[in-house]
């Protein structure tokens, strides 16, 4: 006891809240950085749509780009094509998604957990792999399914052409069109109070009347959110249209911008004009999206009784077969055909003297372009993952835990990128780095690609981090502050370790995003900074199918493979509707 008396009080010089100037400085820095990499490129696009000189020349302002862009029939056509694909896709995918989610979550279908995992796989399977896998199946002349059809007597006239509007819709559906919806809606269906359905049965409605009159209407808020999230992303779609549309001169918004920017001489100003229209369109949608996501749903949990599953009776087995077939189409077919493509002497030719070969793998693993692509991909994805997680956790923390002025602005900036098509932010960054003399040396470096890829998942990342900061008891931090630690020490010693798991998850998500998406970097990469997935696009376009298979397998390992590893460590890698 005597010891305590001799202790002199430790003077605590740090103030309780971050000092006003320190906190403001942090806020200014965050808004500055985010504004610079998110807003400034978009402003540049708007400005330069009124510029008639190309990048890195003295600007000459005028309406020439707008006039030319919209006197060209192809630009209107590409916008309409994006909308058309969006509409047809949603009309098919949404009802199908609702139905499959209901089967998985509310009925006694067999293997529901396995199937749900199947949709999860499909979600993380890169678009590139699904598209290419199905190209090998449905190419009008060499596609495996088409050659099989030719051998069947009555069906020999049947031929599916993947290079068509319906082919594009099909691949959208089997890549993420359906799996996103199932992943978002199944948990929501599961959380729905089962007694709402039971009350309907007791009122005299059959299981299917209940689905139609009670379950679906009660789930409408979730379904609307999922629908609008898909609508907002109509103009973001890129890889599928690039591989399946461009060969027959079918352009959508994003592929048209790339086409304009890559022409010789480049029509970047026309691309900017085209970009600006969608910016204005999205300006109306972003507040709506934000409202939708941040709103709470009214579905309730009771927890009193284990949700009772609906007995499908005799329909149980047909329903199981149906969902199983969907999983085969979504996961098994593309994976097997990409694998087959890499190990077969000629894909689809099972009667060759030497059907299987390791030649292509030997070639690929000695190919300097593939090795460089792998190297580039790892640098870009790891950097985007690490920097992204650190920066966004700081942003999330500042948004949730401080009362600094300017939080609303910072929050709004974080909501922007999810709605901006990757091609557009790529175009903006291109302008920023080529058009500003100070930054020009950065063009052609991987740093540019890191910034572009980091932007892609800002909204999702900050949402996840914000949700986790909210869950973390505030007392844990307050007791650190009461012990005398300041803002930064508390953040680094208390918050950071407690949030480690979430940060790893955000890093993993950012890594996967960066390793597989091309739209944001396609205008920024050079042949030296090309990533694996960009390389795969070039290989497919050039017709090197076997080597492309191998590149795509590598991309899949980096994305889906990583997702599976993360999942086995217990990370809840996925997407949520709320």
């Amino acid at each position: 006891m005597a010891k305590i008396e001799t202790l002199s009080p430790v003077p605590i010089t740090r103030s309780w809240l971050p000092r006003l100037n320190g906190g403001t400085a942090l806020m200014v820095a965050l808004i500055g950085v985010m504004g610079f990499i998110v807003i400034y490129p978009l402003v540049l696009i708007l400005i330069n749509s009124f510029n008639t000189a190309t990048i890195a020349e003295e600007p000459i302002y005028g309406l020439k780009a707008w006039r030319e862009a919209f006197s060209e029939y192809g630009i209107w056509r590409s916008l309409w094509n994006s909308v058309r694909i969006g509409i047809v896709l949603q009309v098919i995918a949404l009802p199908l998604g609702v139905f499959v989610s209901w089967l998985l979550a509310r009925t006694n279908i067999l293997c529901a957990n396995v199937f749900e995992f199947g949709f999860w796989i499909s979600f993380f399977l890169p678009n590139l792999a699904t598209t290419f896998g199905w190209m090998l199946m449905l190419d009008p002349s060499t596609g495996l399914i088409n050659s099989w059809l030719r051998q069947i007597p009555l069906l020999s006239g049947l031929n599916f052409d993947i290079y068509s509007f319906s082919g594009i819709i099909w691949v959208h559906l089997v890549s993420t069109g359906l799996s996103t919806k199932v992943m978002l809606m199944t948990p929501a269906f599961r959380r729905m109070d089962a007694s709402m359905e039971e009350a309907s049965r007791m009122s005299g409605a059959s299981a299917f009347t209940t689905l139609w009159r009670i379950t679906v209407p009660a789930m409408t808020p979730v379904i609307v959110v999922v629908f609008l999230l898909s609508v907002i992303r109509i103009f973001s779609s890129f890889e599928i249209e690039l591989l399946l549309g461009v060969p027959w001169s079918f352009y959508v918004y994003s592929t048209k911008i790339v086409d304009l920017a890559r022409q010789e001489p480049p029509l970047v100003n026309q691309a900017a004009a085209l970009g600006s229209i969608i910016l204005l369109f999205l300006a109306a949608f972003i507040p709506l999206q934000r409202k939708l996501i941040s709103r709470r749903q009214f579905t309730t949990v009771t927890g009193q009784f284990k949700p009772k599953l609906i007995d499908l009776g005799v329909w149980r087995y047909p329903a199981t077969v149906f969902v199983g077939l969907v999983i085969v189409i979504l996961d098994v077919v593309p994976l097997l055909s990409v694998l087959g493509g890499s190990f077969m002497t000629r894909f689809g030719f099972f009667n060759l003297p030497k059907t299987w070969t390791l030649e292509y793998w030997k070639m690929a693993l000695n190919d300097p372009r593939i090795l460089q692509g792998l190297h580039n991909t790892l640098i870009v994805a790891v950097s985007a993952g690490l920097v992204g997680a650190l920066l966004f956790s700081l942003i999330g923390y500042v948004l949730v835990r401080t009362k600094l002025p300017g939080r609303a602005v910072l929050d709004s900036i974080c909501w922007l990128p999810s709605a901006i098509p990757g091609v557009l932010s790529g175009l903006g960054l291109l302008w920023m780095f080529l058009g500003t003399p100070v930054f020009r040396p950065f063009y052609g470096t991987l740093a540019l690609l890191v910034i572009a890829q980091m932007l892609g998942g800002i909204t999702l990342s900050t949402q996840i981090l914000k949700a986790n900061f909210l869950q973390l008891g505030k007392e844990l931090e307050e007791s650190s502050r009461m012990s005398g630690a300041g803002f930064w020490r508390t953040y680094l010693r208390i918050v950071f370790p407690l949030m480690a798991q979430t940060m790893v998850m955000v890093s993993v998500i950012k890594f996967m995003f960066a390793a597989q998406h091309n739209s944001a970097i396609i205008l920024l990469a050079t042949s030296e900074t090309r990533t694996l997935s960009l390389l795969a696009l070039d290989q497919v376009a050039a017709g090197y199918r076997e080597v492309a298979s191998i590149t795509i397998i590598l991309v899949t390992l980096l994305t889906l493979g990583l997702a599976i590893v993360a999942r086995s460590f217990g990370l809840k890698v996925g997407i949520r509707a709320e």
């Binding site: 007694s195 039971e198 009350a199 309907s200 049965r201 005299g204 009670i214 009193q304």
Partner: protein, 371 residues
């Protein structure tokens, strides 16, 4: 004549027996309660009656119709049973107004517009919600939601009304109010009610008969007074209200009374009425056998001295007195047990002192010693 007949009903969940071959007969227009703590199988039984669970064994008959028979592989779907049900969470459909919620069962039965409007207005008036037709269900208070759920379950004049803990989500005051309303409502609409609750007050006050369940087995079925004052098993005795248990030895077995010497609480012996002996088998009661006398605290009166010539008095220690406004609570230790005895009036007693407890002869029951 029984209206709803449950025979050998059996149900397991993942090999855990939830309902273990129970038999019940419920009369028409009866208010019948299934009472027990959570996990006793009462809700499962109710859901099997409604058709929301399929039994693994046994049968349920309504009148002369067989609703379900596991042995005959017969099952009538819930929507064909014509029973109304109120769920614990009320399960109002959030995308519908009050009117649409209540009208839903009528629409499914093909009723016409004017008929629907009349009937919905009628039943909403009955539950005291007239005029709220156009409100959205989630915008209502808990008590109002409860009434809408009740209206929805009653609107198509079902043969049976199933209530699954309908009052447990309400706050205490509202619960009392709804309890009284539920009783008067049932008397007005004359419907057979099966009510599931874990609350003994609800069960005792509402029911014509109560079935008390434990681990999927029926412990006792009887009227409120029967199960309260003549519990058939130690579980029922201890589950409903409080009891003093006084261990002793039988000293005499008479024609109408049995004499028991109680240990450690003075010298007096207690006289228990012959028909208050529980489990009279295996030669019980017999002179010399160890026994327990059980008595409800409210059948005890306190005084500061033992009146001469009055039997059935035991001696205890008064631990504490608390004044609660409308009553006094006396914490009394008797032997090894401590219980609270309530009295509306102040007694001339001091904490720490001796106290004499007069046990009402009719309130005592005699049990074989539990060892």
């Amino acid at each position: 004549m029984s209206f709803l007949r449950i025979q050998n009903l059996y149900k397991t969940f993942d090999r855990v027996v939830a309902v273990d071959r129970i038999n019940l007969e419920i009369k028409e227009r009866e208010f019948f309660t299934l009472l027990g703590s959570s996990g006793c199988g009462k809700t499962t039984t109710l859901r099997m009656v409604g058709g929301l669970e399929k039994p693994d064994g046994g049968e349920i008959h309504l009148g002369d119709q067989c609703l379900v028979s596991a042995e005959k592989n017969l099952f009538i779907k819930p929507e064909k049973r014509n029973m109304g049900m109120v769920f614990q969470s009320y399960a109002l459909w959030p995308h519908m107004t009050v009117f649409e919620n209540v009208a839903y069962p009528l629409k499914l039965r093909g009723a016409r517009g004017s008929e629907i409007r009349t009937k919905v207005a009628e039943v909403l008036g009955l539950v005291g919600l007239a005029g709220l037709e156009d409100r959205q269900a989630p915008a209502l208070s808990g008590g109002q939601q409860q009434r809408v759920a009740l209206a929805r379950a009653l609107v198509f004049s079902p043969k049976v009304l199933l209530l699954d803990e309908p009052l447990s989500n309400l706050d205490a005051q509202l619960r009392e109010e709804m309890r009284r309303e539920l009783k008067s409502l049932q008397q007005r609409v004359n419907v057979t009610v099966i009510f599931v609750t874990h609350d003994q007050i609800e069960a005792l006050s509402l029911s014509d008969r109560i079935a008390i369940m434990k681990f999927g087995v029926l412990e006792q079925v009887g009227t409120s007074e029967e199960v309260y004052y003549k519990p058939a098993t130690p579980f029922v005795r201890d589950f409903l209200g409080k009891t003093f248990l006084l261990p002793g030895k039988i000293t005499a077995v008479g024609e109408s009374q049995i004499c028991v010497d109680v240990e450690g609480v003075g010298t007096s012996s207690l006289n228990v009425e012959r028909n208050n002996v529980i489990a009279s088998n295996h030669g019980f009661p017999a002179v010399g056998r160890a026994a327990m006398v059980a008595i409800r605290p409210e059948k005890i009166s306190l005084s500061d001295r033992a009146s001469e010539g009055v039997g059935n008095v035991v001696e205890g220690t008064l631990q504490a007195i608390q004044f609660l406004g409308d009553r006094y609570e006396y914490a009394v230790t008797l032997g090894s047990e401590s219980r609270v005895i309530v009295s509306p009036e102040a007694q001339q007693l001091k904490p720490g002192g001796k106290v004499f407890l007069h046990l009402k002869p009719g309130g005592m029951t005699l049990w074989p010693s539990e060892s």
